[in-house]
């Protein structure tokens, strides 16, 4: 039987309501959590091997442990619901179908890190998810799960929903914090890291929606059980957003040890119309592309890292043999040129430049040195920027050309 922690209720009518959530055991873990000291919850999350599901895959319990011990003054929890990574649409389902699991996860997580205010930063275009979430938060307040002295525990938590305005960079955690603070969504210099100095200068933990939705399950069924669902270095399941040339595109919750081949061919129904597979991007647009022959990899953070790509946000983009990789590169390059916040020089200048070169190649006006120029620019710029946006752009720049060089060369006129 397939374990479905996050999506288990999705099929129920009215799954987004407090009533249905409670009928299926929701909020039951709260009293158990309040009975524990906060540090014990962080310990439990560490043991569960839960890793961040927003993109970076950082171990969640370890991140929580970075909050300075004995800190006086406010601490914030921020939920990243910006979901901007191309090919990723799982958080949307969680917000629409099971918002109370996020709220319960937030209460437990806030209690663990000592936060009394939690923000949810919702992608601006997510109007329906935002409405449903807002209703759920109101219900939770009315039922005493939010606000003062939750369930008589003495613990207070207020939740503030903040809507983004449509910028990919506001999903990067410090860009998100700037935006939350009312500033332009520019990522911040690290150090200091948000856990030490984040939103409004206070220690702040930023976690993805899906990451936090896992927390109630860990509390209910135990860290060992959760860890046992995954690999040695990553516990639990995660939601894979599968799009592109598959028979059944959609969100699939699976243990992280599933292989890419199984995900595509068994769960998503394989490619339609008997077409052949050309390439797969396994973790959102920032992940390096894989060739058809490279899909026997497990879909956990380390499995994909060892395969030279990354799990990222688990957005799986499947491309059949009709896809032009140079065109695909032009499209992603346009995205990164458009979304670069423009703050730091290497990213600001080279995302636009690389897009122009990629476009020229697709238009048949490429020059033979363009491919090496793109590779060289991307390699030299990698690792020099303020935030990981640029390294994310470098993923496709380099891998598309390295793995499909002949396709690019075929478009470049011979002198």
């Amino acid at each position: 039987m397939r374990e479905r922690l996050l999506t288990g209720n999705f099929h129920l009518p009215q799954s987004h309501t407090l009533r249905v959530y409670r009928e299926t055991g929701g909020y039951a873990g709260l009293e158990k959590a309040f009975a524990l000291p906060p540090a014990a919850i962080t310990e439990e999350v560490k043991k569960s091997n839960l890793r961040g599901l927003g993109g970076a895959g950082f171990p969640t319990g370890i991140k929580w442990g970075f909050i300075p011990k004995g800190h006086q003054g406010p601490i914030y929890l921020v939920i990243n619901a910006d979901e901007g990574e191309p090919g990723t649409f799982k958080d949307r389902y969680l917000l629409e179908k099971d918002p109370h699991s996020l709220i319960e996860g937030m209460i437990i997580s806030a209690y663990a890190i000592g936060a009394h205010v939690a923000f949810i930063y919702v992608r601006g275009e997510y109007v329906r998810p935002w409405r449903i979430l807002r209703q759920a938060v109101e219900e939770a307040y009315a039922a005493g799960f939010l606000g003062r002295n939750i369930l008589g525990s003495g613990f207070d938590l207020d939740v503030v929903i903040h809507r983004g305005a449509g910028a990919y960079i506001c999903g990067e955690e410090t860009g998100l914090i700037s935006s939350l603070e009312g500033k332009k969504g520019w990522p911040k210099l690290k150090p200091p890291f948000p856990a030490v100095r984040g939103a409004f200068g206070a220690p702040t933990i930023v976690n993805n929606v899906e990451t936090i939705c896992h927390v109630p399950h860990i509390m209910r069924r135990g860290a060992e059980w959760f860890a046992g669902l995954g690999t040695n270095t990553q516990g639990g399941t995660r939601m894979y957003s599968v799009s592109g040339h598959v028979v059944r595109p959609g969100v699939y919750e699976l243990p992280v040890s599933v292989t890419l081949r199984t995900l595509i061919y068994e769960h998503a129904g394989g490619l339609p119309n008997g077409r052949g597979l050309k390439a797969v991007v396994p973790g959102g647009s920032s992940a390096a592309i894989l060739r058809a022959g490279e899909i026997d990899v497990t879909m956990d953070v380390d499995g994909l890292k060892n395969a030279g790509t990354m799990a990222g946000s688990a957005g799986v983009i499947v491309m059949d043999d009709t896809v032009s990789i140079p065109e695909a590169l032009m499209v992603v390059a346009r995205f990164y040129a458009h979304e670069s916040c423009g703050q730091c020089t290497p990213c600001r200048e080279s995302t636009g430049w690389i897009f122009k070169m990629a476009k020229r190649i697709v238009e048949g006006k490429g020059r033979k040195e363009d491919l090496d120029t793109i590779l060289d620019v991307a390699r030299r710029g990698a690792g020099t920027t303020i935030c990981a946006f640029y390294d994310g752009a470098v993923g496709p720049y380099i891998s598309y050309i390295e793995k499909f060089r002949e396709e690019f060369e075929a478009l470049i006129p011979r002198a």
């Binding site: 210099l189 423009g342 730091c344 303020i386």
Partner: protein, 540 residues
């Protein structure tokens, strides 16, 4: 205090010092654009990369604080390669219009490209176009295509003036510096953004196209605009006199002083030098009032003036010195006043409007040397009259001869009619100053003073800091430093002390006036010295 090693050299720096500053202390310049020691750290240009310890990735030196035992390398192959890459990124969309750019010759894109760039250009695509020649305010003009988006100007307006006129708008390579809607860059310090802009994006509307910077000479100086005494550099154009209508002083730039003005000066001071090359300058001594005024030589006028001063009883003579004058001038004048036994001496004339003041630099007292005049003792002596009293006495014809230095008494806080009547009643009105004014028009004798940039000297600022200024250009016409003029007249009157240089005056001043005891030009160096505090708190 953590110890660290930079390029093999050991150093110890205070806790919290950034790697870039630690390197600077050792004389190692880490190339940078966005970092400015007077502003917050932005970390945007990414040029200041260095290798730290065993970290395989170069790190930015501006946002990295020194920790004990840190090993920093600023010239490894990896650092050099990264720097070159970052230089290329800075330049791909730059219009490369140096031949028509006012910054050429002092542009950090030019400097760093030659030092750290020197790559084969690879950018063949259309560059991003942005607005050009956009006036941002009365003093500053923007070329957004030349901007490298270091955000220094934005941070200056946010952090130093707190006025927040500027922002970076749009995203990606369309990002662009601009004014917030409805705003103008018109704060009292706006010119500083031109100084801190490392490239030709922000240029000075006053200086633009006046002269190429490599033709400029530099002299250290002190701003005479108010009693703060900001340290400045006078940039003069002597080599291309046919440029810009013969204007000799091309611009003033702030000079760093940790305690006085840090990196900044105000706009009033920056653009306040125009009087130096103004047609209102007094170029030659004259005798005769109004239409009867005739140019004469020094040899002719000095005995005439000495004669006038001899003709009257000491009680019939008034001297109105100016807090615009240098310590040297005031000291020699006091010598002469004592020699002649004059009692009616003052230097205080209230301005028509109270001066503006703020918490940054600007002081309400628009004179550079009021404190000096106080310390040297140019106030009324032995029951003598103050300035207003002298003018009253002039109307009553008790004072018959008045020697006015610089002041435009007709534009003071006092009723103009009354003052005019007083001046017209005088038998002998001597005016000594650099520029003409209402008093000059009524004077019987006019003596041309050199402007402060035309001579050396010292001013004592509001807190009692004595600071030197140096000569930048030759005096106009026959103008001379005030002390020189006073010395010549004194000589004709039998005063034995005859200094040859400003430094001689200062030596004598230091030997005579207790507050200045022990000081000398050498001792003052570039940063000046605090003297005896007039408020009675003792030596500063």
């Amino acid at each position: 205090m953590p110890k660290l090693t930079i390029d093999g050299r050991e150093s110890e720096v205070p806790e919290g010092t950034g790697v870039i500053e630690a390197a600077r202390r050792l004389g190692i310049e880490v190339p940078h654009y966005c970092y400015h020691p007077g502003l917050s750290i932005a970390g945007q240009c990414r040029l200041c990369m260095v290798e730290i310890g065993n970290n395989p990735r170069p790190q930015i030196a501006c946002n990295t604080q020194v920790v004990e035992g840190m090993v920093v390398r600023t010239e490894t192959p990896k650092v050099l390669e990264t720097r070159q890459a970052i230089m290329e990124f800075h330049l791909i969309n730059h219009p490369l219009d140096c031949p028509v750019c006012d910054q050429a010759g002092e542009c950090w894109l030019q400097i760093y490209y030659m030092k750290h760039g020197l790559y084969e250009p690879r950018m063949v695509d259309e560059k991003v176009h942005k607005p050009k020649a956009v006036p941002l305010g009365p003093h500053v003009i923007l070329d957004a295509e030349r901007c490298i988006l270091c955000s220094r100007c934005v941070r200056f307006c946010d952090e130093i003036t707190g006025t927040g006129e500027l922002g970076i708008f749009q995203r990606g390579d369309h990002s662009e510096i601009g004014l917030f809607p409805g705003r103008e860059l018109a704060n009292p310090y706006s010119g500083n953004v031109v100084d801190i802009c490392p490239v030709g994006a922000l240029t000075d509307r006053d200086f633009r196209f006046a002269v190429r910077v490599w033709y400029l000479e530099t002299a250290k100086s002190i701003c005479p605009g108010c009693s703060r005494g900001c340290n400045i550099a006078v940039h003069s154009n002597l080599r291309r006199p046919h440029h810009d209508g013969g204007r000799r002083v091309a611009r003033l730039k702030p000079r760093y002083h940790a305690e006085v003005n840090r990196w900044w000066i105000c706009d009033a001071g920056r653009y306040g030098y125009k009087f130096v090359d103004d047609p209102s300058r007094v170029r030659f001594p004259t005798r005769g009032r109004g239409d009867a005024a005739a140019e004469v030589g020094w040899d002719e006028i000095v005995p005439l003036i000495a004669g006038q001063l001899r003709r009257y009883q000491p009680g019939e003579i008034g001297v109105l010195a100016s807090p615009q004058m240098a310590n040297e001038d005031l000291f020699l004048l006091r010598r002469l006043v004592d020699h002649l036994g004059l009692a009616h001496v003052d230097f205080r004339v209230p301005p028509s409007r109270p001066g503006d003041e703020d918490r940054i630099l600007i002081k309400a007292d628009k004179n550079p040397n009021r404190r000096g005049a106080e310390l040297i003792g140019l106030g009324p002596r032995d029951g003598g009259l103050d300035a207003r009293g002298m003018l009253r006495a002039a109307r009553e014809r008790r004072i018959k001869c008045l020697w006015v230095f610089h002041h435009d008494l007709l534009a003071s806080a006092w009723p103009e009619g009354e003052i005019r009547e007083a001046l017209e009643s005088l038998e002998c009105l001597l005016f000594q100053g650099s520029n003409g004014n209402g008093v000059r028009l009524l004077a019987h004798y006019v003596l041309p003073s050199a402007a402060w940039v035309e001579r050396e000297g010292t001013f004592t600022n509001f807190e009692g800091r004595v600071q030197r200024f140096w000569k930048a250009v030759e005096p106009l016409g026959a103008a001379r430093a005030d002390w020189e003029i006073v010395a010549r007249i004194g000589e004709a009157l039998g005063l034995s002390f005859m200094p040859d240089t400003g430094e001689d005056c200062f030596k004598a001043l230091a030997a005579t006036v207790p507050a200045f005891a022990g000081l000398s030009y050498r001792e003052l160096r570039d940063t000046g010295r605090l003297v005896w505090d007039c408020a009675g708190r003792g030596p500063a």
